[in-house]
Point group: C2
Chain length 290, copies 2
């Protein structure tokens, strides 16, 4: 470990005059360690305006996308792995305070089901609805009161894959910055803007910018591939139990249903959102596909 | 425990002739209550050949689809609700032994995150591959070592919605009869046959019955909507981390990729399966859609 830290120090010195060293932390009572753990709670995330991302891959992607963590923690074992060490060097060079801790302390911070060698806390991006860029072929996902953070994270991941331009949460939505949603997003939480707004603001925004609002519901005979997909579109998906509210349905320019057969009467929310988004992208010729 | 189950069957049969009444159970040490709880463990499910379904809606659907539970439990509070009471009357009429227990005892049996008023244990259906009916437009989902039971249950739900004819699990797959998979399937576990088989058997079955095996992988330039969808099809989806194995890829008649854009490099497994299945159904004209 001593050698690794010296190596890191030398690397960092080459980059910066005043390079920070990874800071050893051994106690769960350390305030920064306590904060990293407390970011599992919405209350702490709201107060600190920070959220937690776990793992070398996601934190690397966040840096690639221009996000700057407020702090990070790495395990001693992690520092011995080249990819983790490279990331720590990169974080240090960017002036991020990196704690080095025993694996056991990291285990007490992370959830037991997903212990990683590296964690970082990022500022929650505050994007007002009016700041969302709207390309001519804009594609947005409006979620009416989503309840499950795993679904929300999976929807972020899918939206990123089809090149959507943002997620808009209305009503009493689960927290996109929760550990579970961030994890399910597989890094896409850093790639797409996530906006909280009320229905009236979304309706006004759609009218002002000529975005058509397409709501999904079983209560219509219009199939999901009928409405025109030219121009900017916002697809509205409802709550897992109750679907879109009457007020949301009334605000939509069109309502569509996803076809089904047999006894089944609904799809998982992340699945139905994916089916909607991929069919829109199909009708747009899979533009920009890799 | 096996004896207990046989005993319960005998009890139930005796009572069917004598106008059965729900049987009060107040102790967690009651063997039937212990068995219901132990069905959370794979070991118990394998030994008893039983699995647990939770909630009035799913158990009602199971009965509608012709499945017959080995035993059931209802809370005292649940019995006061008309829909729950109706189901209990139906279970009793079918000769099922129904335990009535305090809510607190049910809470100790069910998982804390999903306490229902009614649980039932059903025999695990054993469907050999050679018994799977293969319609001319057969649609099957082959899952190569799926790891996450939530994904597996969600895939069952989606497959049911598009009218697929069965799920085939190959390799080291998570358990479709786990509480989590059954729950995520939203009752579809009772609607579709689920088969365990090895790759060689699946390959032989496909050849013998003219089923084309379409594997999904990022390592091809063939887009997912290129192969012909006439005739019977089995779509092969890989493990969440590693995708389809080389051996599975070699056994496929064609390999396809789902288009993606941006930095995102993969979809959630339940999402990619849904995108595949809905696009096949689309190219079949959404036949049999409600």
């Amino acid at each position: 470990l001593a050698k690794t830290v010296l190596g890191l120090y030398a690397d960092a010195q080459r980059r910066q005059e005043q390079a920070a060293m990874p800071r050893p932390v051994t106690s769960a009572a350390n305030p920064a360690a306590k904060l990293l753990r407390a970011l599992e709670m919405k209350k702490t995330r709201v107060e600190e305006r920070l959220f937690r991302a776990e793992g070398v891959r996601i934190v690397t992607e966040a840096l690639d996308l221009g996000h700057h963590p407020a702090m990070a923690a790495v395990t001693e074992e992690g520092l011995a792995r080249p990819t983790t060490e490279d990331l720590v060097v990169r974080l240090e060079a960017a002036g991020v305070d990196v704690m080095v801790m025993p694996g056991r302390l990291m285990e007490s911070i992370a959830r037991r089901d997903n212990v990683q060698t590296l964690l970082a806390a990022f500022p929650i991006p505050e994007v007002p609805l009016e700041d969302l860029p709207i390309p001519a072929d804009g594609l947005f996902v409006v979620l009416d009161r989503p309840r499950d953070p795993g679904n929300l994270g999976t929807i972020l991941r899918t939206a990123d894959c089809v090149g959507a331009h943002g997620i808009i949460l209305i009503g009493d939505a689960c927290d996109p910055w929760s550990v579970e949603a961030v994890r399910a997003s597989m890094g896409s939480i850093f790639a797409l803007p996530v906006v909280h707004a009320d229905l009236a603001s979304v309706t006004n925004w759609c009218k002002a910018h000529d975005v058509s609002l397409i709501g999904t519901t079983p209560d219509t005979q219009t199939r999901f591939d009928e409405p025109d997909v030219a121009g900017a579109i916002a697809v509205v998906m409802g709550n897992e139990q109750s679907g879109i509210s009457d007020a949301v349905a009334a605000a939509c320019d069109s309502l569509v249903r996803i076809p089904m057969q047999g006894r089944a009467d609904s799809l998982n929310l992340a699945v139905s959102t994916a089916v909607m988004l991929f069919d829109i992208w199909r009708r747009r010729g899979y533009a920009n596909a890799r």
